[in-house]
């Protein structure tokens, strides 16, 4: 009886492990798409509203879901401290704080970091170009992540479950 319970627990544990792995693969394209939308909102704020950056970032944060909202909120917070840092540096710090909560990989973060350098540093026309570039790159990453997720998430889910079963079979 105890053995049976143990076996069940093993299967569940391995299954959920696989499920968690799969979730990470599924979350990445979602988050990339969410970021793209967030940048779209930021673009509206910057290009059409000409809203000052700290305010624009807070607006974006209010319209986004966690953890994407964090990136924008942290940047606005850093800027609000008036410690003499530029928006690019604030963005950089925000990325460091936000990345552990996200499912993004280093390449995705690199897109964001590159975008941050020019954040707020030029006129509207130029900002629009940088936003456009970042959005295109995110879209590309999102498409790749999507296909990767489709391939991998079911693999990991099944792998976890079947791995658990195999373990049970071996040990039983």
């Amino acid at each position: 009886m105890v053995k049976l319970i143990g076996a069940c627990l093993t299967v569940i544990a391995c299954g959920s492990l696989g499920y968690t792995w799969a979730r990470i693969y599924e979350r990445r394209p979602q988050q990339l798409a969410a970021l793209e939308i967030a940048l779209q909102i930021l673009e509206t704020e910057i290009i059409y509203g000409a809203t000052p950056l700290p305010e624009a970032l807070s607006h974006v944060a209010a319209k986004c879901d966690w953890p994407m909202a964090g990136l924008f909120r942290y940047t606005a917070e850093e800027l609000g401290k008036m410690k003499g840092i530029t928006a690019g540096e604030a963005w950089e710090r925000a990325i460091d704080r936000f990345s552990p909560d996200s499912a993004l990989n280093n390449q995705d973060l690199l897109i964001l970091r590159r975008f941050g350098v020019s954040l707020g540093a030029s006129d509207r026309e130029d900002q629009a170009k940088h936003l456009q570039l970042a959005k295109t790159q995110l879209k590309q990453a999102s498409i790749q992540a999507e296909s990767l997720s489709r391939k991998n998430s079911s693999v990991y889910k099944h792998l976890g479950f079947l791995g658990g079963l195999m373990l049970v079979l071996i040990l039983y």
């Binding site: 000409a50 000052p52 530029t86 604030a90 954040l119 707020g120 540093a121 006129d123 509207r124």
Partner: protein
């Protein structure tokens, strides 16, 4: 380590020292290195700061009340250029970032005019490579020089002249024009006149009236995000960054002012708007560049306006006894001086 920013609450509104104002409004827009240098300055120098000039590769310079001085990296005033702290490219780039609140795109219009108004109503002038599109200034890029001009608010600057500007019988404000050379406190005086008119002057039994301000260059009210940063009294409406002639019409139609105040009148279209204001029975307060009465008559548009014999009072400012000395107040109806 960043220099401490003095707590807002410690700066009382009435007797605000320059040091308080500097640490509240100016220091946050300076790069950390320069912040530290400025905080090291001796108190008496800090008290006198009118301008902080950042020029790429040149010594950090302060414009004081009477002279300008350079500052060493240790925060000591000096007159030897080699000892001054040389402003780096980093400093200038950072200052531009900080002045604009990292939102250069939000200040396109301001940059076209060559300056940005920051919190507290202080103005930051910009110099650099100007980009021209179809014969008009599009933007300034590669900014290499900044001039941070500390805007002072002298509550009570107009105390001594208010009795000459208000009719003792009808309690009405006279049409007034203030003339002075640059940097003699024209705007400061005008600001205080507006404040007194809008708030009321119990001493003169003047109740206070609605004042409409067209602040084309964000100098009078020092608006930041549309909110006046200077005390302009309780019955004042400000159109910030608005062209004068149009702004005056807008105010007349929409805000029902009894006095319209605007600075640096002088274009031909301003005359039309002035006439409109007069026809609506609105009093006008304005300023013009010029050392004396003769000088303003040499400028065609101003001459036209003056010849309409609209203005009743002419206030002439100078620096003979320090900034903001009232040299003369004239009754333009009969050309007599009221103070001599």
């Amino acid at each position: 380590m960043a220099a401490d920013i003095v707590d807002n609450r410690k700066c009382s509104k009435k007797r605000e020292s320059t040091v308080c104002m500097l640490s509240r409004d100016i220091l946050p827009i300076l790069p950390v290195k320069i912040r530290e240098i400025i905080t090291e300055l001796p108190g008496e120098v800090m008290e006198e700061i009118e301008e902080i000039r950042l020029r790429l590769g040149k010594p950090l310079m302060l414009g004081l009340t009477r002279e300008d001085v350079m500052v060493t990296p240790q925060g000591q005033p000096t007159t030897i250029p080699e000892f001054g702290y040389a402003v780096t490219e980093q400093d200038v780039a950072r200052a531009v970032h900080l002045v604009s609140g990292s939102s250069i795109y939000a200040f396109e219009e301001e940059i076209k005019n060559g300056f940005i108004t920051v919190r507290g109503g202080h103005r930051v002038g910009l110099a650099g490579k100007v980009v021209v599109d179809k014969g008009r200034v599009k933007t300034i890029k590669c900014i290499s020089g900044l001039n941070i001009r500390v805007a002072r608010e002298v509550v009570g600057a107009a105390d001594s002249i208010m009795p000459y500007l208000i009719n003792p019988v009808t309690k009405e404000f006279h049409h007034t024009i203030i003339i002075s050379p640059p940097r003699c406190g024209k705007t400061t005086l005008m600001r205080d006149i507006i404040r007194q008119l809008a708030t009321g002057i119990p001493k003169l039994d003047f109740k206070g009236c609605a004042v409409g301000v067209v602040d084309e260059r964000s100098e009078i009210a020092g608006c930041f995000n549309g909110v006046p940063q200077k005390d302009l009294g309780i019955r004042t409406d400000v159109l910030d960054g608005c062209p004068k002639a149009e702004g005056m019409m807008m105010l007349i139609r929409a805000m029902g002012p009894q006095v319209i105040a605007t600075d640096e009148i002088g274009k031909t279209e301003d005359a039309g708007a002035l006439e409109e204001a007069l026809n609506a029975g609105i009093k006008v307060l304005t300023t013009a560049h010029g050392a004396d009465r003769e000088e303003i008559y040499q400028r065609p548009a101003l001459k036209y306006i003056m010849e309409q014999a609209v203005f009743e009072r002419l206030v002439i400012l100078g620096r003979s006894r320090g900034v903001g000395t009232v040299e003369d107040i004239m009754d333009l109806k009969n050309g007599n001086s009221l103070v001599r």
